[in-house]
Symmetry: none
Subunit: 418 residues, 2 copies
């Protein structure tokens, strides 16, 4: 184990359009991945508009806290492009117009047959003492400043200019300054437990570790446990992650469905493909969502034969062969109908396994006996048929997503044992 602390980065995205309801900053996801690969942790991201005072405030805070500060955007020719001015103010340095850059800009414009308008000259302003980063795909150059305690990196906002400049100009500089630091990650995906129940089981295991760090995420497609280790060698970082992961996996047992971030539908697909089995679906309340999730995965045609979305009762009778009197006696949302749907789709298609869902997604259609969120899942394989019942709290989207997750997870646990 190393006791060197990983370098810490903060990322600042500049641009008023990123403060509208319509656009999210995605440059930072790319930069985070690149920095993580170098063993540099991203600890804060900010999005700020074209407003000098807030920008200066933001940059000053970041420079005070972080080893690396990367800003994207605000390097263009217009008057609201203020990133150069803001960094210069934080550093207490002057902006100097570079004759070399000016000449390059003039040639660039001439090459495309345009006349350079005067506002473009601002792109030739360089902070005193900064290294200029060449822009292979646009006009605004970037800057790299090392003030002794923090590296400050200014990149253009358009993604293709930003990524190219990062790879060509920034990566070599970071590698040179930051050798022998490696990060390893592991992502466990977990089903069948609530977040707090899982945390009770594994907190005593991961809490004593400062390295790897552990993060827990919860969503409609299950729980995720992210482990991240840093070390001075890649092998050791991997070793640290593997050791803690093995202990957590042991505690969680078959609730862990994936060790590499694969989604449940990928895991189900791999199981069916490996075992040479085929699957057909009969969906009522999930309305095609289960088929959609399975067929999101390339290659799903290897095991997935077909699905029927039997929304109307008559469709359950006509397309799945569910006996009409079964629906009349027990209701369309019942264990009996779920099992009959599973058997029906299996027989109609000749699939090895038939999986069926019937339930009440809401917001309408609930009754005191059969409230919104009541779902039955039927599973037919060989000469057996089974069902499970869940009462799912929440709205239509949640009921549909969670029903799909619970049904696929039940299927996974059954097939694993075949």
């Amino acid at each position: 184990m190393t006791d060197r602390k990983p370098l810490v980065a903060e990322i600042i995205a500049v641009g008023s359009e990123l403060l509208t309801p319509f656009r999210a900053d995605t440059n930072s996801l790319y930069l985070t991945e690149q920095l993580n690969n170098l063993g540099i942790d991203v600890k804060l991201k900010a999005v700020v508009g074209d407003e000098l005072e807030r920008m200066v405030d933001c940059i000053r805070g970041a420079v005070g806290r972080a080893d690396v500060v990367i800003a994207t955007g605000g390097l263009g020719p217009t008057e609201d492009d203020l990133t150069r001015e803001a960094f210069a103010e934080v550093l207490g340095r002057k902006l100097i117009r570079s004759e070399d850059i000016l000449e390059g800009l003039r040639q660039r414009f001439a090459r495309y047959g345009f006349k350079m308008t005067p506002n473009n000259e601002r792109q030739a302003d360089v902070i005193e003492g900064a290294e200029v980063l060449r822009n292979a795909r646009g006009s605004a150059p970037g800057m790299f400043v090392d003030n002794g305690s923090t590296l400050m990196i200014m990149l253009p906002g358009p993604p293709r200019e930003m990524t190219t400049m990062f790879e060509q100009e920034v990566l070599p500089r970071l590698r040179e300054r930051h050798q022998g630091f490696f990060m390893a990650r592991r992502q466990l995906r977990v089903s069948g437990l609530t977040e707090s129940a899982m945390d009770d089981m594994i907190a005593p295991i991961y809490k004593p570790y400062a390295n790897p760090t552990t993060t827990i995420l919860s969503g409609l497609t299950g729980l995720e446990v992210h482990l991240t280790a840093v070390s001075s060698t890649a092998d050791e970082a991997q070793q640290l992650v593997s050791e803690l992961s093995a202990r957590i996996e042991e505690a969680l047992g078959e609730n862990v469905f994936s060790r590499n971030g694969d989604a449940l539908e990928q895991v189900v697909g791999q199981l069916f493909t490996t075992k040479g089995l085929t699957l057909a679906l009969a969906e009522s309340c999930t309305g095609g969502l289960m088929a959609k999730r399975l067929t999101d995965i390339p290659g799903s045609s290897r095991y997935f034969l077909s699905g029927v979305v039997a929304y109307a009762n008559q469709a359950k009778i006509d397309l799945l062969g569910v006996p009409a009197d079964l629906i009349e006696t027990h209701g369309a949302v019942s264990a009996e109908v779920a099992e009959a749907m599973a058997q029906g789709i299996r027989q109609k298609t000749g699939a090895d396994v038939g999986l069926a869902v019937t339930g009440i997604a809401g917001p309408d259609g609930g009754t005191p006996e059969k409230p919104v969120g009541l779902v039955y899942v039927g599973l037919a394989y060989g000469d057996q048929v089974e069902h499970r019942k869940w009462q799912i709290p929440g709205d239509r989207e949640r009921v549909r997503e969670l029903t799909t997750t619970l049904a696929l997870d039940w299927l996974r646990r059954k097939i694993v044992r075949q």
Copy 2:
């Protein structure tokens, strides 16, 4: 028009998972839209991990600059949920455990048949003097603090909890404090045109207007034109938007499918319901996505009878009655098979309209004659059957989403004329 300055907000998203390469903060897009509707400008967004010191730094900066500070996330039961502590530190106030909230938490756990683990008790900690915001869809309550110069609002991270709490608990409080500033919006949704073709048609119309502002977005579910007007009265803001919108709608004609932000699947559902028609689907390459999108909408059972996801050729034959020799002669991806699928599902289900899709979503399965992205859509109604053919560029997800959008849009244009 008013010359009052709009209030300024900053948004802080809390959670280490938002600092990985895998997750972007999207809550802030929703919050920005809501705040903009109240005439409140968002000037800075930050994402910070589960780390007390940086969080305090971030909150302190925001509280010093903004009229409204909203934090999302970090209110859960685990030890890295530190939002409560961070705001308490910035405010110099204590956290007090609320017996009321504790009791509510216990009842919530009992209702779902779980035992409450001790870590959940932290969710009952309230900042001295804060108003508690009820969480209708989860366990962690929010908080609302007015320190005289800044409103501080703490919301849970999961989007459905956050949005519900914002609408039920935060909006009324903000409205009360912030009268006399009105914003009106209109969202036109458009299909059947490329972004640049549409802009050529409407730029001469909207360019002369500074108020309303016009924003154009492009995505897999079509194009969007957003108009936003501000004024000192609600009526005037509405009037400004309506005037410009009418001119744009006239230029775009029936390419505009929605004037209120409704999705294509909602518009299709309304058309079928109004006209008293029923629909059934036969999907191959979209794998249930079309049925999923239609049944996302509550009440879709009024017109949507059933769908068949006929992934395997045998399923097209068995479940849809497509003649085997038709598949052999023309291939499964062909105009003939698309039409036969549409007729087949219509006959099997007795629906008024049968819509079918067959195509190659990729990444595998393409040939020089039938490349990835080739799709045929079939439409059967009355005694007529038609097809259309598209060649869609892009990856699997893009082909599936765009096929669904194009097919539903074709359906819309057909049904509008019935």
